[in-house]
């Protein structure tokens, strides 16, 4: 497809999406929905193609390359992985059958457990340890690196009070009433400040991102045909 045709389609699709600004009038809302449906449909279709070409085909190619010697160790491993993946995939299709859905649940359990284990290991080595390192390392020369010290203290306070903020455990008093200490309340209040500040920053930067994308599209429309 020529570049001009692609540009024209992009132009029309952008206008269709922007028609949402005009509200829910029958015609314009149809245009918006049509653009969104096209986008979602094409994304789903491309995902299917990409999965076939990028995930399934390589396994088939591996097996095909070594099909002359099934006893070859590498080939056995490839075939085993492929057959296992295929079996798991087929079992997922049994979900609608109530009497066999436990098979699907079992496969999902494996996926979830493996995914959770991977995530936990990654979170430890990639997030928690570096974060702990960042909040516990004090500069050798505090006077020379005062900014770093302040940052470290802020990160420590923010992390700890933020974690404390999401703590809902109650303390049982002598009169069997539930309550919390004033210190805990103060720490949670500090955590609330950090959380709200963080959310505010995220909201502001998200708006900035959206504005950037909006500007790019408006610029594209303005330049169209020039």
């Amino acid at each position: 497809m020529s570049e001009s045709a692609i540009t024209l389609i992009s132009f029309v699709a952008t206008l269709m999406v922007f028609s949402y600004l005009l509200g829910d009038l029958p015609l314009v809302s149809s245009l918006y929905r049509t653009a969104v449906y096209i986008f979602i449909g094409m994304s789903a279709a491309f995902t299917l193609v990409a999965t076939y070409e990028g995930v399934i085909l390589p396994y088939l190619a591996d097996i095909q390359d070594a099909n002359t010697s099934w006893t070859a160790l590498g080939n056995q491993a490839d075939v085993t992985i492929f057959v296992t993946a295929l079996l798991f995939g087929l079992l997922l299709l049994l979900k609608p059958i109530a009497s066999l859905s436990w098979l699907t649940n079992s496969i999902l359990a494996v996926l979830i457990v493996v995914g959770a284990a991977t995530a936990v290991v990654g979170a430890l080595t990639g997030t928690l340890f570096p974060l702990l390192h960042a909040i516990t390392v004090v500069p050798e020369d505090i006077t020379a690196d005062f900014t770093a010290l302040v940052n470290t203290v802020l990160i420590f306070l923010g992390t700890m009070s933020g974690l404390f903020y999401f703590q809902f455990q109650l303390r049982q008093g002598d009169d069997d009433s539930a309550g919390r200490s004033r210190v805990g309340y103060a720490v949670r209040s500090l955590g609330k400040i950090f959380v709200v500040t963080t959310l505010g920053a995220i909201y502001a930067t998200t708006m900035l991102s959206m504005l950037t994308i909006f500007v790019e599209r408006v610029g594209f429309l303005m330049r169209f045909g020039v």
Partner: protein
């Protein structure tokens, strides 16, 4: 926040009380009636429970018997059940805000809180739900809701107390929403705001007169070490290098991240390096192909064309999110064997350590987190992170907390600065459409060496001026054995530039010779020795020196084990005492030595911290980039015509958005006040 969850404290009342006041049931029990039993454990074994196996079956399918036993035991020790046994907190124990909320709810006895249909009891006392006005239309207008969807909508409405507020009867049958037939004035504020924003954004594209604010600087701010480092790492790439570029964004973020991907890919390819593109998002793989196609179209006038599996690689997408990334880090040799279309790539890399660099361009902080968690810990190769504004706050800690992750390059303002830096380095190159440049540096070096000679001979005054040292400096003589091959020409340029402007300064000292002595050190150790920021071996390496280099001493540690001296550009640094000889030298002689060894002195590599670009190729990164592109046209032919207009539009758009938000809030606040003054009957 904890007070917001005070509904946890409510007492779990007995069955008789429940019958009398069913709305006082615990919110937790209403949320998960299948799990939360009464406070006494015997309830879990009640006949009613045994008589309803269908609930379990619906939730879990056909489960083995031991699961049921587990569930029964769970209800006995549930923390939630323990919480339910707590007594109701007296109202006077609540803080002022919650007491006010309680009073307000008491003032409306018919509120939805008393409805038995409430799924979250008392939550609507805390979370003040806006009035839900049912009006056909909206984004999902004309969508036919299935029965299950209608039930979900009803449940959601119950949860937020919407149905009681609207007082609208629930539809008993399938209903089709139809869009409105005409324009409503209710939509006018949104439309006006949108149009104002659109106008503010469009104006800079019409005329350059509509400009507000300043453009981003041409250099990254000195406090932003990470971005400068990222830039320099990319600028130190050479022909043999492979760079893994992760496209972790789709078309929806293309407006923000495409320029970033564009300039990073151009930079990599202009250096002669090869990008290997990968993604855990299948759409992003396709999008990356479009970005490369766009670059190729822009450089077509210079007769430059790209070929997949030669100039770049597009790997198959990594399915499974974090699992896919873990697969990449552990089975890299397997992953890179196939392209996105299932064809063999022919790449012979065996691990991530064989890469020179990794770059992640991500739309969301989750992607940065996944790469930081699943890939970065598994390799010694540095990871450069680049994101949009939205992902910056949550991505920054990963950059700050790890020496392995460099960055953060953020948004179009950084892209502008990046382009300015590249433009300054490549300014000597003139794009010549139709000219294929094989070795641009080869034609450049002789020109550079000729310049100082001419300048020196034309200098009239000091006839005893020594022969300009520039002619003595050959690229081969530079101590860059451990550095990238491309570094030599750039260093020559830097040296010659300094020398070309130096002759008068170099001559004057000899004419005004001084006998003042200064303390100097001369490197005596063989090979390259480290120069550090602080007097300890764990400090950042600022650069390297070799035997014969002479520097001016400015101090030292008390025990004399470390010496403080001035590097080129008067940068203070430290070196271990046993590596050098310390003695005094006349100032003029020192200047002459410095002049003679200017090549060595200025070619000292300065780094913020020691870096290894690839496991098998230890290298030091230069603050002063070599800037020796293989194909400069790839960078120079980048279309930057609309960058400034885009930045101006961003500024005006942000101002307009803030004004619209403030105006809107003031408008609605005033309207609310007026309505309150008039009273509920409108009088």
């Amino acid at each position: 926040m904890t007070d917001d969850f005070s509904w946890l404290d409510y007492e779990d009342e007995d069955t008789a009380a429940d019958a009398k006041r069913p709305s006082r049931l615990s919110g937790l029990r209403r949320l998960a009636p299948g799990f939360l039993r009464r406070g006494d454990s015997s309830a879990a074994e009640s006949p009613a429970d045994e008589a309803s196996p269908g609930r379990l079956r619906r939730m879990f399918g056909a489960l083995p018997a031991f699961i049921g036993r587990f569930r029964r035991a769970r209800s006995e020790v549930s923390a939630a059940d323990l919480a339910l046994q707590r007594g109701e907190r007296p109202i006077e124990d609540l803080d002022d805000r919650l007491q006010a909320l309680r009073q307000r709810s008491s003032a409306h006895p018919d509120s939805a809180a008393e409805s038995t249909g409430q799924a979250l009891y008392d939550v609507d006392d805390v979370l003040v739900t806006p009035e839900i006005i049912h009006r056909p239309g909206g984004v999902i207008s004309a969508v036919a809701l299935s029965k299950a969807q209608q039930e979900q909508v009803a449940l959601l409405r119950d949860m937020v107390g919407g149905s009681a507020q609207t007082g609208e009867a629930e539809p008993s049958s399938r209903r089709i929403f139809r869009p409105r037939s005409g324009f409503s004035l209710d939509a006018a504020p949104q439309l006006i705001g949108s149009m104002l924003l659109l106008l503010a954004i469009a104006l800079p594209f019409v005329s350059s007169d509509f400009r507000e604010g300043e453009l981003p600087p041409s250099e990254f701010h000195e406090d932003r070490h990470g971005v400068s480092t990222a830039y320099s790492l990319l600028d130190n790439l050479s022909r043999d290098d492979f760079v893994l570029v992760a496209f972790e964004y789709g078309p929806t973020a293309a407006g923000e991240l495409d320029p970033m991907a564009d300039i990073i890919l151009r930079h990599i390819m202009a250096q002669g390096s090869t990008p290997i593109i990968v993604s855990s998002n299948p759409i992003a793989v396709s999008h990356a192909r479009n970005v490369i196609a766009k670059i190729e179209r822009s450089v077509a006038p210079a007769a430059i064309s790209f070929e997949e599996s030669r100039d770049y690689y597009l790997l198959r997408y990594l399915s499974g999110g974090a699992l896919g990334l873990r697969d990449l880090s552990e089975n890299f040799d397997s992953i890179i064997r196939f392209s996105s279309t299932g064809k063999a790539t022919g790449l012979g890399l065996t691990s991530l350590n064989d890469l020179t660099l990794m770059v992640v361009i991500a739309e969301r902080a989750d992607a940065i987190r996944n790469w930081a968690e699943q890939v970065a810990p598994e390799t010694e190769t540095k990871l450069i992170a680049a994101t949009g504004y939205a992902a910056q706050p949550l991505s920054q800690p990963y950059v700050d907390g790890s020496d392995e992750i460099i960055g953060l390059i953020v948004g179009i303002r950084d892209v502008y600065t990046y382009g300015e830096k590249l433009g300054a380095i490549y300014a000597d190159y003139t794009p010549d459409p139709g000219r294929v440049v094989e070795q641009p540096t080869a034609t450049r070096t002789p020109t550079a060496t000729a310049t100082p000679t001419e300048t020196a001979t034309e200098t009239p005054a000091p006839t005893e001026t020594p022969t300009p040292t520039a002619t003595e400096i050959e690229p081969e003589a530079l101590p860059l054995g451990a550095g990238p091959a491309t570094a030599a020409p750039a260093t020559v340029e830097a040296t010659l530039t300094a020398t070309a402007t130096a002759p008068p300064a170099a001559v004057v000292p000899s004419a005004t010779a001084t006998t003042a002595l200064i303390e100097v050190i001369e490197v005596t150790a063989g090979g390259l020795v480290n120069i550090r920021r602080e007097p300890n071996t764990t400090s950042d390496i600022l650069g390297v020196a070799e035997a014969g280099d002479v520097f001016e001493v400015i101090g030292g540690t008390d025990d004399g084990s470390w010496i403080n001296f001035l590097m080129a550009d008067d940068i203070a640094a430290w070196i271990a005492e046993f590596l050098v000889d310390q003695y005094q030298m006349p100032l003029d002689e020192f200047r002459a030595v410095e002049s003679a060894s200017v090549g060595s002195a200025q070619s000292v590599l300065r780094v913020e911290f020691p870096l290894r670009l690839g496991k098998n190729r230890p290298r030091l990164y230069q603050v002063d980039p070599p800037g020796s592109p293989e194909r400069p046209e790839i960078v120079l032919l980048r279309d930057r015509r609309h960058e400034i207009a885009q930045l101006d539009a961003m500024t005006l758009g942000a101002i307009a958005a803030i004004l619209i938000i403030v105006t809107g809030n003031v408008f609605y606040a005033m309207r609310g006040l007026l309505q309150r003054r008039r009273g509920p009957d409108g009088q």
